[in-house]
């Protein structure tokens, strides 16, 4: 019988990252300020679209089925732009990963940013690594309760701001702010605020590195994008080993430069030892590089025992070999420019007018008393302009005896009015002699005579059962 029973599950280990200074830490602060700034301030940017239109630069208007992005307006049938953006984002992530490894995780991922913010709060209230550790191990007393409560309150407040900022993207920010201050918000808004408050609190406060290690799919497949030229954070084993404690004044002959001070381990927010090589948990945030460089400064050795470098350089023991241009680079840039130019093209050639024609199915045709055949259609004219427009409707491909357009009354096909920024629905009846073909292909052409914009949609004229 073994003395030590096998542990089937790893227990969650609390990580107390120590404070660190250095250029990557600075970069992280800058990234956090910039990203949070974008997140919190964007909904407050104004954009004048004229009367009755929302004046918010970026707005996803769910009830009215519109999305606004500065001068661009997305209607529901144009959500493929979102697909495009998602493809760009995914390929962009692959691109950056292939070049710089997991830097997205280290600097830009919301999970990292908010966790970093929460750790900062922890440090401000409870002190640095050792103080936090001691506080956790100490029995409950007034001081502990005070510090813990304060931490959680600030966490919840940050969570509240996170959820609070989210809803501004879906409503006019100043109006909604006023409503929130008066506690007069719809359930949907309150629900999102509460939900995001809670998820921020749980994810950044408690789950932290567990999210990256166990929940995030990207962590699992990012290594597929790595190659020998990818910059990863790594420990220079040739230079560092054999490691050991170092006494001041002694030489560096016959030993490595790593003095086994564990600085790189205690600052790591993922709680790993980078000296064990590339690990799935490593989010490439560079804090261990900062910590190690600070130590190297103290003992008078050059920087870079732990550094961003390529596998190639480490394997061959040569100076950094980073190459930006590799076949991969061109592939990713190629895909991104293809998708990007497709989106740009469709955006630039986007018409402010759209026509959709739907042929009646029941009945598919009607025989009139003089023997002529009549077909019915429902047409929708989408006016994306911010002014009322008048359109002219023509039918190509058939000699019609009569084009009748009916809304609440009969209208002239030469003058169909559709109000600004809305969809006009019209019934169209085409009357023609019985055709030689049972099903004749015809075309509905609509013209905006003022701006000379033409759009068309094809349909059929049916004159007998097939």
């Amino acid at each position: 019988m073994p003395e030590q029973p096998i542990q089937l599950f790893a227990k969650q280990r609390t990580i107390y990252p120590r404070r660190v200074w250095g250029k990557y830490r600075k970069l992280k602060w800058v990234a956090m300020v910039v990203l949070l700034g974008i997140y919190y301030l964007t909904p407050w940017i104004r954009w004048d679209r004229g009367e009755y239109m929302p004046s918010q630069a970026i707005l996803i208007d769910m009830p009215h089925r519109r999305a606004y992005f500065f001068g661009i307006e997305i209607w529901p049938q144009e959500v493929y732009y979102i697909t495009g953006i998602l493809i760009l984002a995914a390929v962009g992530l692959f691109f950056v990963t292939s070049l710089l490894g997991r830097v997205w995780c280290g600097y830009a991922c919301p999970q990292t940013v908010w966790t970093d913010l929460f750790i900062w709060v922890e440090r401000i209230v409870q002190g640095d690594r050792n103080a936090r550790k001691k506080l956790d191990e100490s029995p409950w007393n007034f001081e502990k309760i005070r510090k813990k409560t304060l931490t959680h309150l600030i966490w919840l407040l940050i969570g509240l701001c996170t959820g609070g900022a989210w809803v501004f993207y879906f409503n006019d920010a100043p109006t909604l702010m006023d409503q929130i201050l008066h506690a007069d918000v719809p359930w949907s808004v309150g629900g999102w605020i509460l939900g995001l408050t809670f998820s921020t609190y749980v994810m950044a406060g408690f789950a932290r590195e567990q999210v990256c290690t166990y929940m995030c799919p990207y962590a699992r497949f990012q290594s597929a994008m790595f190659d020998k030229d990818t910059l990863v954070i790594s420990y220079d084993e040739r230079r560092g080993e054999p490691r050991g404690k170092h006494k001041a004044g002694t030489g560096w002959e016959n030993r490595g430069h790593c003095i086994d001070c564990d600085s790189c381990v205690v600052v790591c927010p993922m709680g790993i030892d980078i000296r064990n090589g590339l690990q799935m948990e490593c989010i490439a945030c560079g804090l261990c590089v900062d910590a190690c460089n600070n130590v190297m400064d103290k003992i008078g050795l050059p920087h870079g025992l732990i550094r961003y470098d390529t596998a190639e350089a480490h394997d061959k023991g040569i100076a950094s070999t980073f190459r930006f241009f590799r076949p991969r680079t061109f592939w990713y840039i190629g895909i991104m420019s293809a998708v990007g130019s497709l989106m740009l093209y469709s955006l630039l050639t986007r018409s402010p007018l759209e026509i959709t024609v739907l042929h009646d199915r029941n009945p598919i045709f009607v025989t009139l008393s003089d023997g002529d055949i009549r077909n019915g259609y429902n047409i929708s004219l989408i006016n994306k302009d911010h002014t009322d427009r008048q359109y002219k409707l023509e039918i190509k491909g058939i000699d019609t005896r009569n084009i009748r357009v009916q809304a609440s009354q009969d209208l002239s096909p030469d003058a169909l009015n559709v109000f600004a920024d809305s969809v006009g629905h019209f019934r169209v009846f085409l009357t023609a002699p019985k055709q030689a073909e049972a099903r004749k292909h015809i075309e509905f052409i609509v013209t905006d005579t003022q701006n000379n914009i033409r759009e068309s949609d094809s349909s059929i004229f049916v004159s007998e059962r097939e």
Partner: protein, 311 residues
Amino acid sequence: MADPNTPKEKDTVTGVETTGHEWDGLKELNNPAPRWWLWVFFLCCIWAVGYWLVYPAWPTLNGNTQGSKHWTQYKKLADEQSEITARRGVYIEKIKTASLQDIQSDPELYAFAIAGGKTMFKENCAACHGTGAEGRPGYPNLNDDDWLWGGDLDAIYTTIKHGIRSTHAETRDSAMPAFGKDGILKAAEISSVADYVLSLSTHQGGTEEGATLFATNCASCHGNDGKGGRDFGAPNLADAIWLYGGDKASIVRQVNSPRHGVMPTWEARLPDTTIKQLAIYVHSLGGGEAAPAIMPAAAPTQPSAKEPAGR
């Protein structure tokens, strides 16, 4: 069955007690349930108690506990339905007092009437006239431009309200004599008149004899030119539309022993507002005629079909 007196067996690998259950040599470890799971379970228990208090829950001898909110799905449904009725009521009130022409010229009211008419048509009329009002032999197609009793808004409204050959006192009524069955015409004469009737629309065939027979027997209702008459609901025999079939055999059968369609009166079954909506809907199907008196001289000015951005 494990004997409670014998000590529990310990698993050699993990050092955890087993439950004593064994399946094909596999033994279940007696690990405690995960703590998070237990907490969720306890929270659910507490939640359940709150639920019992707030919502209807436990059966009692006379019904069930009501819950503090007295909330039921029936009540929720009733509330929602009354909200719909209230919202609809605004339009229904307007339709009550408005004339059919008023409804037609008010785009918002018109859209409401069409939507309601379409639904009520499927519920009440589609059984005979078809879901698209396309009709079938014996049941008129309401999409076309051929109307037995008139196709303007008021005529359609009257037909729906009073019915055709219905039980209503003011019903529209007419009957064609059974020329063959009652011995008014001989078989040969019926064949001859049928040929003439066919020739009215095909412009070929037909004899002098047929024309004479038609003039003496049929023209009083169907007109000298066979174009029918709406006073009696007499069908137009010179057009391309046939209610009971347009081949010679069908015509002979109709002259010999005519069939007459019956449309029930809807006055007692549907509220007047619904009949108005139905009339508007049927009129909109494409065959609706303008009222004879107020024929607009030119194309009317634009009441646009607007979908407000706020919908």
